[in-house]
């Protein structure tokens, strides 16, 4: 029953990503899902998981402060990090620690005392077992003064978030995370970094930051490369060849999910609160076979109109690849069947790594 709901939820998002008229919003929601990484492995309440997803989507072009305020009292995140077990006099530091380490500041920008004090500020939130929403119970809240990163006050969850996101290290942390997933594993130049900081500004403006990222010279530079995460890779391919997740039979959808599992990435199942790895972790030898499985499965459903000649250019256009290397062109030249040709093109270094 619960497994069925989880299965439906997974396919719902995969399909939404393949069908969305605003794919950027889905890509950003996917990014923030990996940032506030929450797994249904523990949060086995699909309604909570879905609600968190909608909350994230509502904030992707808003401001980071509001998004984080919403997340620290989000039922799925609270349950994931034992926030409901955090009450005055009996602190549970799980949420407070991850809020600083993984969500707002990064390691090295706070101390153990800050974690303890932050956890006190986060007390008071419980989860209504029937409605499955968080509720504030003043009796569980620690009303005393707390000092976090030198700021003292009778902080609550919102007050704590405001203190954290106002830190200059938080701006650099958020900018760095987005940059590393949207542009390049190489950090921005000093000039670009200043532009990004100004765009994000004290308002923690994500829309302005995204505009600045897209406007950065590095964004258009072909030398800025990223390994596509498995889900992004699969969704990109499905969109390129016009195959929606709901167009797959149940069997095919199961095989798609199995291959994505084997590749190491499924929606709503990050391996830990730290989210998914990036870069070379995706480039194992056996991953090539999993990608080939996905590509062949997707392409079996695609309505292709290959030209009679110029197949390599056609494959390039379909997949949005700038050029084929001599190596890949040689490999693709061996293939006559258009689906096989596109499948191998989709697992080529030129497509697996985005330029």
């Amino acid at each position: 029953m619960k497994e069925d709901q989880q299965r439906l939820l997974r396919l719902w998002w995969l399909d939404r990503m393949t069908a969305a008229e605003d794919p950027c919003a889905e890509k950003l929601t996917w990014f923030w899902h990996g940032h506030f990484a929450t797994s249904e492995a523990k949060v086995d309440y699909p309604d909570l998981v879905l609600a968190q997803n909608e909350t994230l989507r509502a904030h992707v072009r808003g401001d980071f402060r509001a998004m984080t305020r919403a997340m620290v009292v989000d039922a799925a995140l609270v349950y994931w990090l034992d926030g409901q077990a955090n009450l005055v006099g009996a602190a549970n530091e799980n949420l407070g620690r991850e809020l600083m380490e993984l969500f707002t500041l990064g390691l090295g920008h706070y101390g153990e005392t800050d974690v303890k004090e932050a956890s006190r500020a986060l007390t008071g939130w419980t989860i209504d077992p029937d409605l499955r929403v968080t509720e504030f119970d003043p009796g569980r809240w620690d009303p005393g003064a707390k000092t976090v990163l030198g700021r003292t006050g009778e902080l609550d969850a919102v007050g704590l978030v405001d203190v954290l996101v106002a830190r200059p290290e938080s701006a650099d942390f958020v900018i760095g995370r987005l940059w590393a997933r949207l542009v390049s594993s190489t950090p921005p130049s000093a000039g670009t970094r200043d532009v990004l900081r100004r765009a994000y500004g004290p308002a923690t403006d994500l829309r302005a930051l995204l505009a600045a990222i897209v406007g950065a010279p590095e964004f258009r530079d072909g030398a800025s490369v990223l390994v596509k995460q498995p889900v992004e890779w699969a969704i990109g391919l499905m969109r390129a060849v016009g195959v929606r997740a709901v167009a797959l039979t149940d069997d095919e959808a199961d095989h798609l999910v199995i291959a994505l599992q084997s590749l190491g990435q499924l929606p709503f199942r990050p391996p830990s609160v730290g989210g998914w790895p990036d870069g070379i972790a995706w480039l194992t030898p056996s991953a090539n076979l999993d990608r080939l499985t996905v590509a062949r499965l997707v392409l079996s459903r695609a309505d292709l109109r290959p030209p009679t000649s110029g197949r390599l250019d056609w494959a390039r256009d379909v997949l949005g690849v700038e050029t084929w290397s001599a190596r890949t062109a040689t490999a693709l030249d061996r293939l006559d069947e258009p689906r096989e040709l596109l499948a191998v093109a989709a697992i080529s270094p030129e497509y697996v790594v985005s330029g």
């Binding site: 190491g264 199942r269 830990s272 194992t284 030898p285 090539n288 080939l292 290397s325 490999a331 697996v352």
Partner: protein
């Protein structure tokens, strides 16, 4: 709430079953079979088999201090009676689910390192497992401890194999990562498709570092396929638990003298907050049914006598039982080392059950010292360099090759 399992940690489920369902037996590029014997592992070169128990195995009910009154007091309904456990040493017994390993103990090929943990224990599964896998208690987000060993030892893709389809963090380094060998093998496409795939494995002058890496991974896929083919050809998977399948596959590869130095396998489900005794006994039985036959195949054979198995979990459980006939997350626990090269018996010191730190045992052995001991003793590595600090060693735990 469901138990935390390995899959919960890695975030996936049903992978192996699925891989098998996809149908994969025949190994590809079988015309390259002849290449398989080119680089056999020589005698005396150690092999490390890492078995991770996800969820936090209850050490106190694994190596049981049956004679300690504090143990019985703390766990009125969960404690084993002296006659229920398998005798190990004075006052200590092995969980009754581990009959096969009791025999290994009697043969002197099983070491129990007691009280292993790390400073300032963290009770989160994820963080604690990350700490064990990275060997970095302070910042457990970087490279895995065997990933750093890979970084330091060159380029051969066969050096370490994960028998779990998803790479565990311990096998991911900064520059290199282990290969995964799904239980279903590597079903290479045949014909033109296979040729085209192989052709993607060539380097190209225009490749950036990542694209070069993709091409290299394709090339490695081919070389792994061909190197492992003789060991896998005609292999019939055993019909058993996933862990037993994984170790059976490892035994086949080791016997074939594949040059792999590290294998990684795992078993999940040890998060026994409730109804602990039955669940844990069953899981330790699964471990026993996988490891004991593996060791029996290795024992005394030229290809198997340099194999050392290490079994660990991210933390032990609280000394005191909770109100649901279970135990909550604790700290120190036993680590097992097994094999011909292991000096059997008890190592380290059993932590006190009365001098507790907020209800938890105080670790007596730092897990990084165990790692250093196997890095040196089994992998002949510069352990202090891999672990990035001078560590202690557990003297006499791992014996030199004969």
């Amino acid at each position: 709430m469901k138990a935390v399992t390995r899959r919960r940690f890695l975030g996936f489920s049903g992978v192996a079953a699925g891989a098998l369902a996809l149908g994969a037996t025949a190994l590809p590029w079988s015309d390259l079979l002849a290449a398989a014997a080119r680089d056999p592992r020589p005698d005396g070169q150690g092999v490390l088999v890492v078995v991770t128990l996800y969820g936090g195995n209850d050490g106190l009910n694994t190596v049981v201090p049956v004679a300690d009154p504090a143990y019985v007091r703390a766990r009125p309904d969960l404690a084993y009676d002296p006659h229920e456990v398998l005798p190990l040493a004075a006052g200590l017994g092995l969980n009754p689910g581990m009959r096969g390993l009791e025999a290994v103990w009697r043969q002197g090929r099983m070491a129990v390192v007691q009280g292993v943990g790390y400073p300032r224990p963290d009770h989160s599964h994820f963080r604690s497992m990350a700490i064990w896998q990275t060997a970095s208690p302070v910042t457990p987000s970087g490279a895995g401890w065997l990933g750093r060993w890979l970084d330091a030892t060159g380029d051969d893709p066969l050096r370490a194999l994960s028998l779990d389809p998803v790479l565990p963090p311990l096998l991911v380094g900064e520059r290199s990562a282990a290969a995964t060998l799904p239980l279903g093998g590597l079903p290479m496409p045949q014909g033109r498709l296979g040729e085209a795939l192989a052709a993607l494995g060539l380097p190209d002058a225009t490749d950036d570092a990542f694209r070069a890496r993709v091409a290299q991974s394709v090339e490695h896929l081919g070389s792994i396929g061909s190197s492992l083919a003789p060991a896998l050809a005609g292999r019939t998977p055993i019909d058993s638990t996933e862990l037993a399948e994984q170790l059976s596959l490892a035994a086949d590869l080791i016997t074939a003298r594949v040059p792999t130095r590290v294998y990684s396998a795992s078993l999940g489900g040890f998060d026994t907050h409730a109804d602990a005794r039955g669940t844990q006994e069953r899981l330790l039985g699964v471990l026993d049914d996988a490891v004991a036959p593996f060791l029996a195949r290795m024992a005394g054979t030229p290809a198997g006598r340099d194999v050392v198995v290490i079994v660990y979990s991210e933390f032990g459980r609280r000394v005191q039982a909770n109100l649901s006939d279970g135990t909550d997350h604790g700290t120190a626990g036993p680590v097992f080392l097994l094999g011909d090269r292991v000096q059997g018996g008890l190592h380290g010191t059993m932590p006190s059950l009365t001098d507790l730190d907020a209800g938890d045992m105080r670790p007596t052995v730092d897990f990084r010292d165990v790692y250093a001991t196997v890095l040196d003793g089994v992998l002949e590595a510069d352990a202090d360099a891999v672990l990035r600090e001078p560590r202690g060693r557990l003297g006499g735990l791992v014996k030199p090759p004969v």
